[in-house]
Symmetry: D2
Subunit: 344 residues, 4 copies
C-alpha cells in the first residue's frame, strides 16, 4: 500500500461487501419501498436522536450536495461557502446546474473554515442589495477540505448566523465520520442540534463501494427532494443495494472504526513527517488528511519509492496532500516516514 | 417467487456479486482511470466490432437517457419518441432537465414502436416551421415499453430518416439484451450498423445491482458527455464498482443467458395464460413482458394467491403487465398459469 | 394597404405615439417606481374591478406567457394547452426555458379550443401516474389561435377543472381585446370572475409599439414574478415608456375601439369571401382572423394583386390565414373580396 | 433638474421620439425582416468598418449581456469579470439563468478595471484544474461601473489574454458612447480591432427610450443568438420600433453628442465639487459618473436642497454616486456645486 492520493482510491470494507451479497437474493419492492431502506431510515432516526428525519440514499457526494442546495435555494439564490469547498472547486458547476443557476459566493477563511461573523456580513451585504442574489444557503464541509474540523460551537455560530438571515445550513459530510471521531460528540450534537438542516453523510470515502446518505432534518424539504432525485436520475430502482451498504456502514460502529483508524494514521503521519528536516506541516491535522510542504529532494525520493500523492499548489509552492484511508496500515505510514527521513 | 411486477424487483446475479467482491480490495485510480474500466471499454469495442467507441458506466437508465439526449440536443432541440416511452412517461422530466428545456414530441405507433415514415413526417413538420423546436434526436426503446422488438430493418429505416434530417439516434436499451436474444443478431447489427449513435445498455433489469453503460458510437459526443456526467453527479469516484458489474455482465454471455431465460419464461407465460378462458394477450410477446387483459375473477384470484403485478390501464380497462426476470423459475410461471386456470 | 399577414405588421395608434412623446421629458424614478406605472396599475384595478391585482408591463407576449408559466409551475410541472397554442408552436421552447424544463401537454380540440372535460381527464391521468410531471398550469388563448373566442361559461368550466386539480389558469391574451368585444362582457367577467389567475393582456397586435401587460389576479405569484422579470432582462429601466403605451391603450376605450374595428373587418371579409365560388371559410370568425381554403386560382390572383397573407397548412391543404388589423380600412377588405371574386 | 441618481432616470432625445413617430405608420414585415432593421445593420457595418458584423436590437442591457454570455459559454463555462461588474452585482443571476448555470469569477482591480495579467492567471488556474469550470468568456464593462475607461491598449491586452486561453471577449457597453468620446477613438478601434467579439451597445442610458444593440463581430455566434433571442422572448414582433430608435441614435452623431454633453458635465461636477472643503473625489472621472466622499453636512444639505443621488457604500463609508445625463444642463451641475459649497 503506497497510495496516499485520496480515500476514494480505496476499495470497500468486507462488512459492506458481505451486506451486498446478502441483499442480492429474492425480489423486493423497488425505488426505495423496500425493508432495507426503511430500516436504514429508522436506524438513522435512532442514531441521530431525531424521530422524524428523512433519509435518501444516493450514489455520489456531488449529487447529494447539489440536490440539497437545489431544494434549499431558488434559481436566484445565493450560496455561501468556503473558497476551497468541493461544491465550488470540484463539481464542475453541479450546484449551479441542479439549482438552475444559483450563485456561489466563495469566502476565504483560515484552515478551510468559514467564520460566522464573516459569513453574516456577506449575507447581509448581498441580501441588502437585492439585485445580486437572494441569500438562501450556507454550506459547510465537515471535516473541511483542509483536513480540519469545525467545533460544535463554531458550527452552531454559523448556523445561527444563517438562520437569522433566512438561510438554511447544508453540510457536505464526505468525511463526517472523521470529524465525529475527532470531536468525540454524538451525531445529533454535530448536526441538527448545531443547526444543520441537511447533512450529506458520506460513506464512499470511508468503506462503502459508492454510497452517500442525505439526512434531512428540515423535513419540509422532503417532498421536493423526492422529486428532484427522481428527475436527476439519482433514484435507484434496486435501492436495496444502496441501502444495504449504508446500513452495514452504520452497524456496529463500522463508520467510526474506519474513520478512527484513518484519523490515527494521519496523526501518526503528521507527527513522523513533521520531524523530517525541511518538512512543514501546513494545516492542523484533525481528520485523515495531511498537507505538507516537502523539500524537493523529499518529494522526489518519495515518488521514487513508489508513493502516490498529489501536489496541492492551492496551498502554496511545494505543497502536497497525503490522505490516509480505512484500508491502510500503520506500516504504510511508517514506510513513507522512513523514506522521507532517508532522503533528508 | 410470485413477483411479476418488474425486472427491477429482482436481485443480482451471483457472478456479478462475486465480481464486486473481487474488485473490493486494494487501491486503484479513481474516477474511471482504473484498469477495470479500461478493460470494459476494450471488451465493448470487441463485442460491438467498433474500434473507437467510448463507454461510460452509469448508475441509472434515466441518467443514461437524459445525459445522452442533452449531449445530442441544444436546449431548443426536439426529441422524437414514442408516446409510451420511458423518457416521456416515467422520468419526471429528466430529459428536459438535463438538456435545459428540450421538447419531447410523443408519437403514437402500434405495439410501442415508432414508424420511420411517421417520424420523418413529424420531424419535417416541426423543422419546417422553425418556431417550435429544432429537430435533434430520435429516441427508440429496444425492447420497447410494450414488450416488442424492433427488427434490424425497422431500426435502420428510422435511423436513416433521422440522419437524413440532421437528427441523432438514441436507444434506450434498458432491455437491449432481451431484444438481442430475440433477434438473434450481433450487437453491432442492432446498433451502429443500424444507425444508432448512442446506446444506453441496461444491466440493472437483467442481473446487475445498479449499472448501465453508455455505448457511444458517435464519439464526437464524448468530450461533452464526460463533462455532463461529472456535473450531474453521475461520475463515481470508485468507478471500479460500476465497471466490475458491467464487465462481469458481458463476460461469458451472462447478459444473453439471463435475457434468454427471462424471454423464454415470458413466452411460456403468454402461451399458458392465453389458453385460459377470457384472458386476452394484448401485445406480441417478444421480450420478457406480457400484457394481458384478465377477467376480473382471474385478476382477483391471482392476487389472492399472492402473485404481484401491476394494472396497466394505459393499454385499456382490465389490462395488466406481467414481467419475468432472470432470477425467476419455470415453476413460478407455471404456478401463475395454474392459478389463473383454476379461477376460470 | 394589402397586408393581411398578421396584426403585428401594423404600426402604432397615434394616441399611443403621442403618449410616448409626452412621457419623454424630465427625470423620473426608474425600474417601475414611477407615477405612470403606478397609475397604470390603479387603472387596471378599476377596470378589472379587483382592488389588489398587480401589473407588470412587459415587451413581448412570449415573455409574458413564459414568465407566468415559470412562476406557476415547478421545473417538473405539467402545462396543459391546446396543440395549436402559441406557447407550444411558436415560442421555440420559451416556456420550457423559463421554467427550467416544464413539460407541455398539447391537447387537440375543435376550433382551437380546449374542452374542460378533456383537460380534466388528461390532468388526472398525468397527475395520477406521478412519474411524468406534476400538473401545474392550464393555459388558454383568448381569442384562440383559430380566431375563435371562449365563452365565459367555457372558460369558467375549464378554470374550475384546473383549480379542482391544483392547477392555475394562465390566459395568453394576445388578442384579449378582440375577445372582449365579441363577448360584450366586462374585463372582470372574462378573467378573474371566470377563474383566471394571470392574464397576459396584449397590446402590441392592437395598436401599441411593443407592450404587453401581466395582470396578476393571484397575487401570491407577485414576489416571484418580480424577481423572474428582472433576472430575465425583461424589467425596463425606463419603465415609463412601456407604461405610457399601456396607459394610453386602456384610456378612452382605445383598445376596444381598435379591436372592434379589426373584428368587424374580419366579419366583413369572411362574409364577402364566403360568397366567392369555391372558397371555404374554415373556422368560425369571432375575432380578427379568417381562415379560408382558397381555390388555387383565387390564391394566385390575390397574390398577383399584391395582397399579402400566409398559407396555413396546419388547417389543411390550400388553407390560408387572413388577419385584419386596427390600421386597416374597409376598402382594403373590399378590394380583396373584389379581387377574389374577379378571379373566380 | 436635480436628479443625479442615474442616467436611466432621464427621458428620451427628441430625435429618437420623432423617429418613432415616423416609423409608426403603415404595415411592414415583422420580427426584424423590415427595412429599418436592415438599414441599421448596414449603418453599423459602415460605422464599425466591418463588412460582415451582425446586429440584434434588444430592449435591455441585462438581456444583451446574458444572451451574449450564454452564446459564448457552455453551461459549465467560466466567465471572468470585475467584482463590481453589473453582470455579477446587478442582474440577479441573469447570466447564470441564460447560460443554464455558467459560473462567474469576480476579480478585483483598481478603478473598476480588470488587468490582463490578473485575468490570465485566473483563467489558467481555473482551466488547469478542469473540475471547476471551463474558461469561456472575459467580460469587460466600457465605461466601467467605476466611471473609468479602458484604454485601447488595456483592452487589447485583455482580449489577447482571453483569446490565448480560448475565451471570447464580451463588452457590456451600457456607456460605450461615453467611453468613445473620452478615448477619441473610432468605434472599430475600441471594439473588434481591440479584440472584442461582441459589444452590447447601450442606447437607453444615453437618449433612447429602451434600446440596446448587440453588435456581433464573431459571426459564428449569430445563428445561436437568433434562436436564443427568440426563445427568451426578446425578439420584438414590431422590431421597427427598436430599430428606429437605434437608427436615430447613431445618425448625425447623436450618440456622441449626448455622451459628450454628459461627460463634460461630470468633469465640471468633479472639478467643482473637488474644491469643496472635505469632499473627496474617489475615482478618476472619465465618463459621466462621479464618485465622491461627502462630509455628512454636505450630504444632508444637498438632499435638503432636493438633489437626488444614491449612497455607494461599495466604495466606502460616506461615498455617493452622482450621474450626469444627456438631458441635464450646466446649471443643474452648478447649482449642486453651489449648494455643496454653501453647506461647508
Amino acid at each position: 500500500m503506497t497510495d496516499f492520493r485520496s480515500d476514494n482510491t480505496h476499495g470497500a470494507s468486507p462488512e459492506i461487501v458481505e451486506a451486498l451479497r446478502r441483499a442480492a437474493g429474492g425480489t423486493i419492492s423497488s425505488y426505495g419501498r423496500d425493508e432495507i431502506t426503511l430500516r436504514l431510515r429508522d436506524r438513522c432516526r435512532e442514531l441521530f436522536e431525531h424521530g422524524s428525519l428523512e433519509t435518501y440514499p444516493l450514489l455520489t457526494g456531488t449529487a447529494g450536495n447539489s440536490l440539497t442546495i437545489a431544494a434549499m435555494s431558488p434559481p436566484w439564490g445565493g450560496v455561501f461557502c468556503h473558497e476551497d469547498s468541493h461544491i465550488h472547486r470540484d463539481e464542475m458547476g453541479a450546484p449551479e446546474f441542479f439549482s438552475s443557476g444559483a450563485k456561489l459566493f466563495p469566502i476565504s477563511g483560515a484552515d478551510g473554515k468559514l467564520e460566522a461573523t464573516v459569513v453574516e456580513t456577506m449575507i447581509r451585504e448581498i441580501g441588502g442589495e437585492g439585485r445580486t442574489a437572494r441569500p438562501a444557503v450556507v454550506s459547510l464541509t465537515q471535516a473541511t477540505e483542509a483536513g480540519t474540523v469545525y467545533t460544535v460551537d463554531e458550527m452552531t455560530a454559523i448556523s445561527e448566523a444563517a438562520h437569522r438571515n433566512d438561510c438554511r445550513v447544508h453540510v457536505d459530510g464526505a468525511r463526517i465520520a472523521n470529524a465525529l471521531v475527532t470531536l468525540g460528540a454524538t451525531p445529533a450534537e454535530i448536526t441538527w442540534r448545531a443547526g444543520v438542516d441537511v447533512l450529506v453523510l458520506g460513506a464512499t470515502k470511508n468503506g462503502a463501494l459508492a454510497a452517500e446518505l442525505l439526512v434531512v432534518f428540515d423535513t419540509t424539504l422532503a417532498p421536493e427532494l423526492t422529486t428532484r432525485i427522481h428527475r436527476a436520475g439519482h433514484r435507484l430502482s434496486k435501492m436495496r443495494f444502496l441501502s444495504a451498504q449504508l446500513d452495514a456502514y452504520l452497524t456496529d460502529d463500522l463508520w467510526l472504526r474506519n474513520a478512527s483508524h484513518a484519523n490515527s494514521l494521519a496523526t501518526r503521519l503528521a507527527q513522523g513527517l513533521g520531524t523530517v528536516q525541511g518538512v512543514e506541516i501546513l494545516r492542523p491535522v484533525e481528520a485523515n488528511i495531511v498537507f505538507a510542504r516537502l523539500p524537493r529532494s523529499v518529494d522526489t525520493s518519495l515518488r521514487d519509492h513508489g508513493f502516490l500523492f498529489y501536489p496541492w499548489t492551492l496551498f502554496g509552492e511545494g505543497a502536497v496532500r497525503l490522505v490516509t484511508g480505512f484500508s491502510m496500515a500503520e506500516e504504510d505510514v511508517d514506510s513513507l516516514i522512513a523514506a522521507a527521513r532517508s532522503s533528508g
